[in-house]
Amino acid sequence: MSTSAEASAPRNNEPRNNEPREDEPREAGPPKERKGHRSDLKPVWCPGCGDYGVIAGLGQAIDVLGYESHRIVFVSGICCSSRLPYFFNTYGFHTIHGRAASVALGVKMGNPDMRVILVGGDGDFFSIGTNHFIHTARRNLDVLAICMDNSIYGLTKGQLSPTSGTDFVTGSSPYGSVEPPLNSLALAITAGATFVAQSYSANIKHLKQTLIEAERHPGFSFVNVISPCLTFNKAKSFAYYKKRVSVTEEEARTDRAEALSIVMSRDEQSVLGTFLQIHQPTFDAAQASMAKAAAEDRGVPSMEELIESFA
């Protein structure tokens, strides 16, 4: 361990770049043949699991985006879907159930140069993790959040998820659920996400294109990917969705209320497309501006200067 590598990471205490990053759509890098930075580990998912489609679409999107592997950080919670970071040879963090959004915020604050991709399942995002999802979206943190929605708890072998919906029979709702479903697209729009879309793990072309656009969007981008669980959610299989899924031709709205009225109509639940895209300052940029202004107004103090406020 001797020769130093060209590291683009900031060293300890090296000041962060406080120049507010331009909040403009990112340009694509040169499309490189990298096979999406896949790692040597084989996914442990059941054969036919929808999440294989997600990994494929994501790999292709990353190829197009041309990001280098050391500039990507996957952050996930705990669930079947959250295993995803292992299957890419990028930086990754398989954290704990429900808290990935907050870890992602820390990563992004720690090194705003990283491309942070947050992944998880419907329970991880919208049951135990709802609070962090909402407040991270509200802040418009510049990350891409991908929910692999199978309307069931896969890893714990088939219980009700917030997106399952009324009358749904699972291990924990043997007489059918009495809980109305949570509309994750609507929640993301209300909470403050600035890019909200839905895709489908069996439509890899659409998925790839959606992920590319979502990732290029500066701010909190949420993509709900319908990703069936063959093992524990027989009701919502690929066959079920095949008949129901359609791709919208409409443009993304720039008004939240309009976007909401689209995603709240029941029929729209299986529509693929981008429903909202707005440009608002990102948390990263706003924090950087604030730090810059504070340093300019009050000066960058030495420790000797700082202690004088206690004299």
Binding site: A5, V75, Y91, I96, L105, G106, H132, P301
Partner: protein
């Protein structure tokens, strides 16, 4: 019993919330420190937002002020209630300065001492504002006890100068009137006198200030937290100062998010901190385990308050030691440090950051309500020579110098060796090389699952054993590095030892210093780190000791139990859990009893 050291003076100001009790006390403290006096303070304010009594107390002397002592020497009561509620804490020879007619039928009568009446309210109005009552009091104090009035007027100018010339004027007038009133109406009938400063100007910080400031000094550049009494000031300080040094402060949506954010930022190589109190620490238990397992260092400050549950949020207790050490499912190593006074808050926070970064481990700093809120003077730190750890990250291997080989045995069947970065490499110290996002060629996936040296999930027994040992080895390294850091005062050969931690250690110091002056054979032992316990040094110092007194502010003897099970010591636990700190005089009798072998073990 040891004679009172009259060079130390303990003064308390008491009045209604809103009467300027706290600001008068803080001004006096600040000025005293500037003049080179040693000073330590204590304040309480009503736990409800408004109304009730406010109390500010300061103790000064020619050398380090060890604690608040046992009794007040001077009570400045802005009104009758201030007298009624505080007089019991004063020695019978104490000096009372007051603004009420003592002719009133006082429920508590004094049996001695000296009284001076000063019409503070009236003089304040004369000076131009009823709000200057506190300044009248300060003027009287200067005159009565020889506090340098020039220092005070200088202090007023510094404090209010920016605000308005008018305020300065009124305040100076009020000080004058207070002093004048004393001069003209009272003959000095007491001996008490502030001792002079040594001319070394000191700074005044609260425990919370010292932690927050210490974090900046240690290189902390990310803070995430959620407001909670009595820790909020730490966040508020960092909200002001971190952005100036390119740091980031985020007010999270709750405590779980706070620590998760810190874990994320630490993962990228930023030194990170969060601060909270008991309820928040409880909420963070799960995520703390992730930091241990994924080996992500961070600093978590717990400014303890009285529980359980919401309990008494503005009262003192040392009740979170168990939670800090044991609050995890399975073995999730974390280092626990408890500073004993304000100055220690600064240095132990720096220490905490150094350990967190070097050992890639979460470090909990256990502060406490009465420490977080009290201000004390301390010398300016020598920043040039401050020991701040800078992490060396891993470097890409070269032909001549490849990545260290991982142990083929534990990699095992079905888990091929791969040329990926061995993030959790096992070695003698347990401290693995680390890369951070942005460094090419050393990508890895941090994880809360049990994993192998390449960070791949693994559940088989041999790997499990190897990784448990690796994490334990790291913890033992901390124990080794800090194993000698046990403070011992007193008689090395004593059969009686007394021990404690955090704020109580400071009070014990005071009690033991007195006992030693009286010629008692006793020693005090304070470990600097409570987990991992510095076993070698503790065993050494406990050797030959027959009886150990453990004092702490909780009702089950959390620390005493550790001393019992680790060292098989004969422990008599002296416990207090009423929401108020120990006074040295409460500890002294136990020392005496232990020496006479009268304590029940």
């Amino acid at each position: 019993m040891s004679k009172r050291d009259t060079r130390y003076v303990c003064l308390r100001i008491a009045g209604e919330g809103g009467e300027g009790v706290i600001s008068a006390g803080e001004l006096l403290t600040q000025v005293a420190a500037r003049l080179g006096m040693h000073v330590a303070t204590f304040k309480t304010f009503p736990s409800e937002i408004r109304g009730g009594m406010a109390v500010y107390q300061l103790r000064t002397g020619p050398d380090r002020v060890l604690s608040q002592g046992d009794y007040l020497d001077i009570l400045v009561a802005f009104n009758r209630e201030g007298y009624d509620r505080n007089i019991a804490d004063m020695t019978s020879e104490g000096v009372l300065v007051h603004d009420f007619e003592p002719g009133d039928n006082l429920p508590v009568k004094r049996r001695g001492g000296v009284d001076y009446h000063v019409p503070m309210g009236k003089l304040a109005r004369e000076a131009g504002s009823h709000r200057a009552k506190n300044m009248v009091a300060l003027g009287a104090i200067c005159e009565l006890f020889g506090f340098p009035v020039e220092g005070l007027t200088e202090g007023v100018r510094l404090k209010f100068g920016k605000k308005s010339e008018k305020v300065v004027e009124v305040n100076l007038k009020a000080i004058d009137l207070g002093a004048e009133y004393v001069r003209e109406n009272h003959e000095i009938r007491h001996e008490l006198h502030f001792s002079e400063g040594d001319g070394h100007a000191r700074v005044v910080l609260s425990g919370n200030d010292a932690v927050a400031f210490g974090a900046v000094a240690a290189g902390c550049r990310f803070y995430a937290g959620y407001p909670i009494t009595p820790a909020t000031e730490i966040m508020e300080y960092l909200a002001r100062e971190l952005p100036r040094v390119s740091g980031r402060m985020v007010q999270a949506e709750d405590e779980i998010a706070s620590i998760a954010m810190c874990i994320g930022a630490s993962f990228t190589g930023q030194k990170s901190m969060t601060a909270t109190s008991g309820p928040g620490l409880a909420l963070m238990s799960e995520a703390l385990g992730l930091a241990s397992m994924a080996e992500v260092g961070l600093v978590l400050v717990d400014v303890q308050r009285a529980g359980p549950s919401t309990g008494m949020p503005t009262k003192a207790e040392q009740g979170d030691l168990n939670l800090a050490i044991y609050g995890a499912h399975s073995t999730a190593h974390r280092v626990v440090i408890a500073p004993v006074d304000v100055e220690d808050c600064f240095y132990q926070t720096v220490n905490a950051f150094n350990i967190a970064a070097k050992y890639q481990i979460p470090v909990i700093v256990l502060s406490e309500q009465s420490l977080g809120f009290s201000k004390a003077s301390m010398p300016r730190p020598d920043f040039e020579n401050l020991d701040v750890f800078e992490e060396q990250y891993a470097r890409m291997p070269t032909d001549g110098d490849p990545w260290p080989k991982v142990d083929e045995l534990t990699v095992g069947e079905g888990y091929p060796m791969t040329p990926v970065f061995p993030r959790y490499l096992r070695n003698d110290t347990g401290i693995s090389p680390r890369s951070i996002p942005g460094m090419p060629g050393m990508e890895f996936r941090a994880t809360g699952l049990e994993h192998d040296e390449f960070a791949r999930p693994r559940y088989d027994p041999p790997n499990r054993k190897a990784m448990l040992n690796k994490r334990q080895a790291k913890f033992e390294e901390v124990r080794r590095e800090y194993g000698e850091q046990v403070e011992v005062i007193g008689d090395d050969e004593a059969e009686v030892a007394i021990t404690g931690w955090g704020t109580t250690a400071a009070v014990i110091r005071h009690a033991v210093t007195r006992a030693l002056n009286d010629g008692a054979s006793v020693k005090a032992i304070f470990p600097k780190i409570l987990s991992p316990m510095p076993d070698m040094a503790m065993r050494h110092h406990l050797h030959g000791v027959k009886r150990v007194i453990c004092c702490e502010l909780n009702d089950t003897g959390q620390y005493a139990n550790i001393i019992r099970h680790r060292y098989g010591a004969n422990v008599h636990a002296v416990l207090k859990d009423r929401g108020v700190p120990f006074a040295p005089g409460e500890i002294t009798p136990y020392i005496e009893m232990a020496i006479k072998a009268q304590v029940r073990i």
